[in-house]
Point group: C3
Chain length 351, copies 3
Amino acid sequence: MLLSELATRIGCRLEIGRGGTGRGAAQAGAVRIERVAGLEDARPGDVTFLANRKYARHVASTRASAVIADASLVSAPCPILRSAHPYVAFADAVRLLNPPPAAVAGVHPLASVDPSATISDAASIAAFVSIGAGARVGARSILHPHVVVGAGAVIGDDCVIHAHASIREGVVLGNRVILQDAAVVGSDGFGFAKRSDGSHQKIPQVGGVVIEDDVEIGAHSAVDRPAVGETRIAAGTKIDNLVQIAHGVQIGQRVLLAAQVGIAGSTVIDDDAVFAGQSGAVGHVHVGKGVIVTAKSGVTHDLKPGQMVSGFPAFDLTEWKKASVEFRRLGRPRPRAVPKARPKGRRRGKR
Amino acid sequence: MLLSELATRIGCRLEIGRGGTGRGAAQAGAVRIERVAGLEDARPGDVTFLANRKYARHVASTRASAVIADASLVSAPCPILRSAHPYVAFADAVRLLNPPPAAVAGVHPLASVDPSATISDAASIAAFVSIGAGARVGARSILHPHVVVGAGAVIGDDCVIHAHASIREGVVLGNRVILQDAAVVGSDGFGFAKRSDGSHQKIPQVGGVVIEDDVEIGAHSAVDRPAVGETRIAAGTKIDNLVQIAHGVQIGQRVLLAAQVGIAGSTVIDDDAVFAGQSGAVGHVHVGKGVIVTAKSGVTHDLKPGQMVSGFPAFDLTEWKKASVEFRRLGRPRPRAVPKARPKGRRRGKR
Amino acid sequence: MLLSELATRIGCRLEIGRGGTGRGAAQAGAVRIERVAGLEDARPGDVTFLANRKYARHVASTRASAVIADASLVSAPCPILRSAHPYVAFADAVRLLNPPPAAVAGVHPLASVDPSATISDAASIAAFVSIGAGARVGARSILHPHVVVGAGAVIGDDCVIHAHASIREGVVLGNRVILQDAAVVGSDGFGFAKRSDGSHQKIPQVGGVVIEDDVEIGAHSAVDRPAVGETRIAAGTKIDNLVQIAHGVQIGQRVLLAAQVGIAGSTVIDDDAVFAGQSGAVGHVHVGKGVIVTAKSGVTHDLKPGQMVSGFPAFDLTEWKKASVEFRRLGRPRPRAVPKARPKGRRRGKR
């Protein structure tokens, strides 16, 4: 793809960088772009990008044929693809230059599909996929090898379900849902009633799970079903690997849950919240819209919209940062208080 | 099922609530119950429950046809199913109103069963199940699609093994064991001997793993096998999702391990202990009977029976709570101490 | 195997222990050894080992026929197999006495192998394995049931891939790589660009993943692929269960990552570093050679070679230990300062 065409299709303005002396934008735009690459790895024929300030120092030495950047980049040794949202433009460029391989529609002869299941003719069902009674799979959805779809489960259109994912009985996935390898949706919630002898009686987990449109769930993440009611993940939410979503949790739209996050039972998370890696929330709390929970933190009570919290139990991020600095000081030798009336002529080091 | 029958079968006394004016218990008991539902979701025809004080305020507005509760609930707009153990009664009600679908006994034609394996005629073996040489599967056990049973492994009676679970060679499961999707039992422990050149030599992990009766293991949890001896999980213990049980760990009866807990190698946990979410224990420690470890905490030394601990390194819960309050204060501006006899006319800022 | 032969093959010197009065080394060496066992479990016919000081008190009562130990063990009730590296000798003994079952070379009739894939005649491909177009599997590599190999992926020689592992498209594994059950290599990195409306646009993750020789990856661990560039795990590194390696991470040689560790995107970890259980590192940081990160800690900035850190944010281990002691004190009643001139006759409790 020519650089000029790429610029147009990802919505960028093509500018001549520091290295451009005589060449015009038209000439620069005639370069053929093969690949997107990082600043340091890029070779001629690659387009690169600057989306994280931390890497700005690498721009001067990049060998890329063009760099996607916002107005903060003053000069570059190659043409600049100027964008107000360089990371989105980068994402577009990766997609344009790496079209997914076409999936072959149809059911592989080594798949096991219950006769009562409804599979779109445009769906792609790989080897060793198992689809239960009454399940439905929508148009253009791709089920990679070893996906298991339980009885009565519904998969919408244009979904991509990677190998070894489990979609348990009755689970509903919307459209354009992506499950990474071995994601589990609809496993039994951890619900037990303690008997008077101290033993635990299993509460059958027979509630539903709904995953709305455009949700992505990472490898080895689990979304549990509840005993009653439902577990729901609203549209556009993205969940990383090894995340635990317990029974009855309600997650809003466009929420981001990084790897190894755990959300305990019946907790409600409103739209646009962000949980960083290895953080979590206890059960039965309400996390307001746009809340940010930093890495390794644990939410133990309701949070108002927009709060940024850290620590365990989690509290205000700014206060936590100060407290953490003080905590660290606890481990250092205490500076001695300066005496009010220090005898003249005596120096500390001399005692 | 009639409410009166339900009451009898779950061991509750049927009482007329606040809304009962002229209707007698007999009349109330004639209502047909279809479903168990939460207080807010329940409709006429549903039975609901109050097991967590936090939700008591929702009782007055519930539309349910009956509510399961203990003596602390004074009145309700519907009949009350009175129980000393409302959560157990609720569990019973869910089970009665949601009988599991009958599994078809027999081996699916797309399963792969070694001729030397012994499968009960009453077991149910789904498509793409793989059973190795010399393995045994007991009566009425259900192996969902894609379960892998290694050579010589033993599965007792009435087990439910969900899709993609791995039961490695030689592992022994008792009766009524439940494995959620993709649980792994018998993976190699993380055992390496450091050579003098700094490289790591694998210690073959050839010990055994025993999972006793009535244990449940969650999705994506792993129970490792040791090099020598065995890893054992005793009867009635329940393990949530994404839990790590390292090689040689010994877990007692009725222990609860919440999601994302990690127990390092050779640690011993006695009966009735509870580990909350994302907590853990280092290797080679002994956790006494009934110990409670709160969320995100980490046990680093032996604990006596009944201790409640928190933090990392974990210590007494009450002290930890106080320390956490003080920690939080470290991040706030210090209140100025009132000076006892401050020299007149002299102000701090002026020095 | 005779004890004398075992001693020779694991490079130990056979010594007569405390119990040896009249018997010579030759006589002791004639004992037949069947098994390796722990100090407490060992029976006559077993060899046991002392590699952890903590268990030294069990030596005196062991029933083993021999004990592997270094010079710190003075006496034993059985012959001693003396070694400068007893843990390595133990590992050798376990391997010698537990040779792995021979895998049958060939492709199981229930496997699904794309005609364009290249499978060594000496490889062993089990039932329900799925191998994509253009993939390659080297000599003597064993793929257990339900392994999925994506298009174009490469598996070297002498690898062992346990059940349910996913090796995604284009991933490259070296020689002698071991993947435990359900390990995932090459899942999509968690990469999204935020659009101006707050929604998240997926950045296609089309970069590569390389796992070098002698790497082991635990059950349920995930190694993500990046959008550009590659994720790489260098030779001899060992990764435990439930570990998250995000997109673009570079891990050096002989690194140890214990269970439930999480390494965020683009972070670089140099050779010989160790991360203990449930610890992690944020993205875009550089962890120097030989750094040790203790359990549950979180690295938030670059670390120099050889640093030992703890806590979150992680700092110097020694300081952290002191700070943790002080933190704990915060939760205790403050000891009252002893007044310099306490009035006579007045007792504390009497006020």
